[in-house]
């Protein structure tokens, strides 16, 4: 077993699928000889050839739209969008075609594609490189949106995304790309989609988070444990569709819910989780639901990015508020 960083786990998953499934093709800007700007496709073109790992012209709508055409003809394109703020030109193709081709042809055509993109802030990147846009894709019917929070989950969930017969948007937190290396067995074992992961069991409060914010959430939970607050931490992992069964079961036990995400608060994924828990489990709540999120502003340039992103202190304060309510 090798110790891998998340970006290396992504490369390992891509390599595994390229090797085992001839229908898989990796495409995107600079994914070829350069191995991607974050090196997520490092060495893949050299190993699998130019017919399996393709550099595309610099056009994101093309990358998404061409992937739809390839997927409908029986290939499994895994497309990379270079930076999170460049993903918006794909929205038309994803919502109008990728997410609805299966249903509008009543199952005749389908789109087994993956749209990979870096996500979130915290790496001192230039403007438009640090956006958190999972809620945008979560709102699109017919598309799964997935965000891993560790190297092993990046490996297993990406394998699952590539093997899934429907479109998956796979958002990779750049802040986690090179920290916290982890033993990852390159055995081709996929993790389940549409399933949360309970990362820490606890009885006092349920913390739901995903992506990079899992790390602040886990740190807050560890800090509060020393003070006698027993937090349960759930990694949402699949942002859409949400595994509410796991969340509701946990809230039924703890009676308290805090949702933590880096994306803006307004109509964020936290709102959906809070609303569903209110709908289905309001009588088991001992305190109001709390959301700790980014603000409803554009991601600031990097001098202020850590003031935008929920810190361990903010997460801790939010949990305390719920515990004291």
């Amino acid at each position: 077993m090798a110790k891998l960083a998340m970006v290396e786990a992504v490369t390992a998953a891509l390599a595994y699928e390229l090797e085992h499934d001839p229908a898989v093709v990796v495409l995107g800007e600079d994914v070829g000889v350069n191995g991607g700007v974050f090196r997520a496709t490092n060495g893949l073109q050299q190993r699998f050839g130019k017919d399996r790992v393709l550099d595309t012209p610099l056009a994101e709508a093309l990358i998404a739209g061409m992937s739809i055409g390839m997927a409908a003809m029986g290939m499994k394109p895994v497309a990379e969008i270079q930076f999170s703020g460049f993903i918006y030109p794909t929205v038309d193709q994803m919502i109008n075609h990728a997410g609805r081709l299966r249903t509008r042809t009543r199952g005749r055509l389908h789109v087994p594609m993956v749209l990979r993109a870096p996500s979130g802030g915290g790496i001192h990147a230039p403007e438009h490189h640090s956006e958190s846009n999972e809620a945008l894709f979560a709102h699109m019917p017919g598309i799964r949106t997935v965000m891993p929070s560790s190297p092993s989950r990046a490996y297993g969930l990406l394998l699952a995304a590539i093997r899934d017969p429907d479109p998956v948007v796979f958002l990779e937190p750049t802040r986690l790309y090179r920290i916290n290396k982890q033993e990852v067995e390159d055995n081709g074992q996929a993790l389940p989609l549409d399933t949360c992961f309970v990362l820490r069991e606890g009885n006092d409060v349920t913390l739901v988070s995903w992506g990079a914010m899992i790390h602040e959430t886990m740190q807050a939970a560890a800090g509060l444990a020393d003070q006698g607050v027993d937090c349960e931490v759930i990694d949402l992992a699949t942002i859409s569709p949400i595994d509410f069964e796991t969340i509701l079961e946990s809230v039924g036990k703890t009676g308290r819910l805090v949702v933590i995400h880096e994306a803006p608060k307004n109509c964020g994924v936290g709102a959906e989780i809070a609303a569903t828990v209110a709908e289905k489990a309001i009588y088991s709540l001992k305190a109001p639901i709390e959301r700790i999120t980014g603000y409803d502003i554009p991601m600031p340039l990097f001098k202020l990015e850590h003031d935008y992103m929920p810190s361990v202190a903010r997460v801790t304060a939010g949990i305390r508020k719920v515990m004291e309510a």
């Binding site: 012209p57 709508a61 739209g65 055409g69 390839m70 409908a72 299966r102 199952g107």
Partner: protein, 359 residues
């Protein structure tokens, strides 16, 4: 300054609006009257289909419908040149091409009648459904062509957009990629002069739309889109070129939208009647009928019989359409995913219960 590159755009026509040949040598298929008659029959059926579909809409039996009046040669010409294994990426009025490829008229009616089952049609299973968001399908055609190329298959993709579609970024992006990858794709621009109410001159300063291919680094050809011999010939050329690994082609088919944009549109608000009357003289059926008549392959009696047959065939299709009931509510959900998520399953159950309770 010296000239570092120069380009030219060729125009092709065999049959003028009076049904006279403008070239001595015809393509091989056009030397066979049976082939021409087959295409003429399809064009005539499409005309009947169009007329009756508009009548269905006007009498509340069909939703908004996009007429193909005047485009019959372009559409049937495309269909006749393609092979079943090629893939078709239409916009939303290419009935002639679809019927040629095996799509049933009642399936098209189902689509405009508000039923997705019309897109699960009898044509080639890999053909795309209508693309209403303008020019988005150019990317799909490029992607399909890339798949064919990577797998070493001798197949081509064909997309169709209108003149308005050439203003979209998706169009330019896919042209550019098709050139860069040398993809087996044919981009057809059905230039019918109007994008709803906006005339071609307000859409572009270009003398031709075929020249847009120059920016993609490949050949663009203009063709008389009302001359089915020219359309089919140029499509056969472009498809052969694509399947032989010689890259993409842009075909600009010059035609005219004789109808409103759709049944929801009223073209008298923005279009001069005299322009339409002039265009009507150029329409594709008159010239082919005249040519076939002059060569002794057609007469009024045959024409009357054909129209009767087309009418009876359409009546049968309309009956099939009308006899297809409302789709079950569950079908809205059943094809969303191969593996339906729990949340959607719950919504499906609720919607089905609602259907059973309230009908």
């Amino acid at each position: 300054m010296k000239t570092v590159a120069s380009f030219e755009i060729k125009y092709l026509q065999y049959l003028d609006s009076d049904g006279r040949l403008t070239q001595k040598k015809l393509p091989k298929f056009a030397e066979n009257p049976d082939e021409l008659l087959k295409m003429y029959r399809m064009m005539s059926f499409v005309r009947v289909f169009d007329t009756k579909s508009i009548a269905l809409q006007r009498t509340g039996q069909l939703g908004t419908y996009a007429s193909c009046l005047g485009h019959e040669a372009t559409h049937v010409g495309i269909g006749a040149a393609m092979r079943p294994e090629d893939a078709f990426f239409p916009m939303y009025r290419e009935y002639g091409a679809q019927f040629w490829r095996g799509v049933k008229p009642h399936e098209v009616l189902l689509f405009w009648g508000g039923d997705e089952r019309g897109n699960n049609f009898s044509g080639p299973a890999h053909d795309f459904a209508w693309a209403v968001p303008i020019a988005t399908q150019c990317h799909h055609a490029a992607g399909a062509a890339l798949a064919f190329k990577l797998r070493g298959e001798k197949r081509a993709a064909v997309s169709v957009i209108g003149d308005g579609g050439t203003s979209q970024g998706d169009f330019y992006e896919s042209l550019n990629a098709a050139g860069a990858y040398q993809l087996p794709v044919v981009f057809v621009v059905s230039n019918n002069k109007w994008a709803i109410s906006v005339p071609l001159a307000a859409q572009t300063a270009c003398e031709t739309l075929a020249q847009k291919a120059i920016a993609g680094g490949f050949e663009g050809i203009q063709v008389d889109g009302n001359d089915i011999i020219a359309v089919r010939d140029i499509m056969e050329y472009a498809l052969h070129k694509a399947r032989s690994g010689k890259g993409p082609t842009l075909v600009e088919a010059l035609t005219y939208r004789l109808s409103d944009h759709t049944t929801a549109d009223d073209a008298t608000r923005y279009r001069d009647k005299r322009e339409v009357e002039e265009a009507r003289k150029q329409e594709p059926l008159i010239r082919l009928r005249k040519y076939l008549t002059d060569m002794g392959a057609w007469d009024q009696k045959k024409e009357a019989k054909l129209l009767e047959e087309c009418s009876a065939q359409m009546d049968a299709e309309v009956k099939l359409y009308k006899d297809t009931g409302k789709p079950p509510v569950a079908s809205m959900f059943d094809h969303m995913f191969a593996n339906m998520p729990e949340n959607l399953l719950a919504q499906r159950d609720a919607a089905v219960a609602e259907e059973q309770q309230h009908g």
